[in-house]
Amino acid sequence: MSITELNKAQTEKLLEVNDLKMHFPVKGGFFKRTIGAVKAVDGVSFDIKKGETLGLVGESGCGKSTTGRSILRLLDPTDGEVLFNGEDITKLTGKRLRDIRQDIQMVFQDPYASLNPMQMVGDIVSEPIKNYHKNRKGEELKAEVMDLLTRVGLPEDAYYKYAHEFSGGQRQRIGIARALALKPKLIIADEPVSALDVSVQSQVLNLLNELQDEFDLTYLFIAHDLSVVKHMSDRIGVMYLGNIMEVANKSSIYAEPLHPYTQALISAVPDASKIGQKRERIVLEGDVPSPENPPSGCPFHTRCPKAMDECSKTKPQLKEVKPGQHVACLLYE
């Protein structure tokens, strides 16, 4: 690939994650030496194109949130690279890292814990702007923040209120307004609706979709609820025990899931539209193994209904099995 071609390929991709690893040391013994590691994220690769929504889905403990946090460098990854507009975030320090964080913002799961109870909503939302643009202040800043608040569906007088005066859904809107304040390019939404009731959940999902068009946003959407992820995403990555098992666009992943784990996951979702039909559910045995001591070979082989002998020996790599559908499974080698 020539350099110009390389540049072109990279400008299309807003974010590229290559072999990202995040291992947390386990300390023990008398001298608190490192005696092991929790491999929360163990070699994850994916990319997100401009304007696209990539959904990351998986059960609790599969490393999806850790992946999101490592991209923002809220956690320092152990290994691998995160290219944002072609620039490796993992190697950045100081001012450049601070600058790039303007472009990547996060919406958190818990709308109760992620807002400062001592601050007025206006201050919460204007803080990122004050932080990066010292020259913007006074009435001009206030008008801008009020504009943001109305844009996410809050009344203007929300500016003078405190977080506890709002319901869960409204608080999540405050969190979204704060994430939008710096006009970011990429928003990492980590389980943004899992704490909300269904009727409120749908409001927030609709809002996120509208904002994506309006502000030209790219989303990394992390959630455990497959129906929600499918509704929001263009492409979906399925994670298990720190690894991506399958990535494909959403229609193919639901129409024809290839990885046995994806198949089990989809069949486990109770679905009201299939009422009255008896369907075969693949019920997985047992629990997710500990990431401190993951199984050898394919991480899923201990629970896989289609496991073969070699699955415990060889770790499968993510490969394009069908156009646009990447699977890490020895069945498709």
Partner: protein
């Protein structure tokens, strides 16, 4: 209650009649459950759905007589279990029923088990309360129960503590505890909400197996319509302390009648279809102190609300198909004096 099964005129297993449960807030009583009536037949699974704050859990606590003392109380109505009124039973008598005839599993498998006792000890406690068993017999029974709920190393788990188990395993232990005395009615309050989908699938399968084996009735409280569609026979939709719709599961999902039910169904993204926009319901469930006195409690959020919705309280009534709904859009829901006028 020795009716044979062929007897058509048998009493339902559980009858709730005009139940009103109030909480006292600043000296005033406010009804969290407001005039709820329904029956649960033997061996049936009844789902209760609604948003948080709809009174689902308060209702189940009222049935079990587990309301926080001094704060919540049953103001009106009665709860009949096999024809016997549970109201007014003292704690001692109620304890003979709780755990034996009616038992309950809760949402939080993490906090419902005592962290300082072994799994075995906590299960044996239930058995000792209701049966005369020797230590050895009790332990054997516990191991049996744990294997029945699909725990593989049952003989070792009995000596372990709750923190050593995963969420799914703890919920299995809770289920083992709930079915230890083969209850006739199990109240499951959001039993899978804290669990992952694959584990949820395991637990739902297990509950359905046990239900069939023991011919047990289940009241299944959840906010997840998907779960309801796969497990329940009958569904009750609650809003702000009242039942707004009640029918069998097929009919509810094919032709929901109440605007609240319709919106609730439109609001969930589904795997099978792609919607551009999800239905939303403006506002939130009114808080207890701000409940409207008259009229439909959903009126201020309802897109189909009419003028009279805030002045006339709709009653829950059956249409020809046996579909019960409380909404003024349907003639049957008009209170009698209105019809006369």
């Amino acid at each position: 209650m020795k009716n044979s099964q062929s007897n058509v005129n048998h009493d339902p297993l559980l009858q709730v009649k005009g139940l009103e449960t109030a909480f006292s807030i600043e000296g005033k009583d406010h009804n969290a459950v407001d005039g709820v009536s329904f029956n649960v037949e033997k061996g049936k699974i009844v789902g209760i759905v609604g948003e948080s704050g709809c009174g689902k859990s308060v209702m189940s606590l009222s049935v079990m007589n587990l309301l926080p003392k001094g704060i919540g109380k049953i103001r009106n109505g009665e709860v009949l279990f096999e024809g016997r009124n549970l109201e007014g039973l003292d704690d001692k008598e109620m304890n003979k029923i709780r755990g034996k005839d009616i038992s309950m599993i809760f949402q939080e498998p993490m906090t419902s088990l005592n962290p300082v006792f072994t799994i075995g000890y906590q299960l044996e406690e239930v058995l000792h309360n209701h049966f005369k068993l020797s230590k050895k017999e009790a332990r054997e029974k516990v191991v049996q129960l744990l294997s029945a709920v699909g725990i593989s190393r049952a003989d070792r788990i009995v000596d372990e503590y709750p923190h050593q188990l995963s969420g799914g395993m703890r919920q299995r232990v809770m289920i083992a505890m709930a079915i230890a005395c083969q209850p006739k009615l199990l109240i499951a309050d959001e039993p899978t909400t804290a669990l992952d989908v694959t584990v949820q699938a395991q637990i739902l399968e297990l509950l359905q197996d046990i239900q069939k084996k023991n011919d047990m009735a289940i009241i299944f409280i959840t906010h997840d319509l998907g779960v309801v569609s796969e497990t329940c026979d009958e569904v009750i939709v609650m809003y702000a302390g009242r039942i707004v719709e009640r029918t069998d599961v097929q009919r509810l999902f094919h032709s929901p009648k109440h605007p609240y039910t319709e919106l609730l169904m439109g609001a969930i993204p589904r795997l099978e279809e792609q919607k551009d926009m999800l239905a939303t319901i403006d506002g939130i469930v009114p808080s207890l102190t701000k409940m409207p006195e008259v009229g439909c409690r959903f009126a201020n959020r309802c897109p189909k609300a009419m003028k009279e919705c805030t002045t006339v309280t709709p009653k829950l009534a059956k249409n020809e198909e046996g579909h019960e709904v409380a909404c003024l859009l349907y003639e049957s829901s008009r209170p009698e004096e209105e019809v006369l006028r």
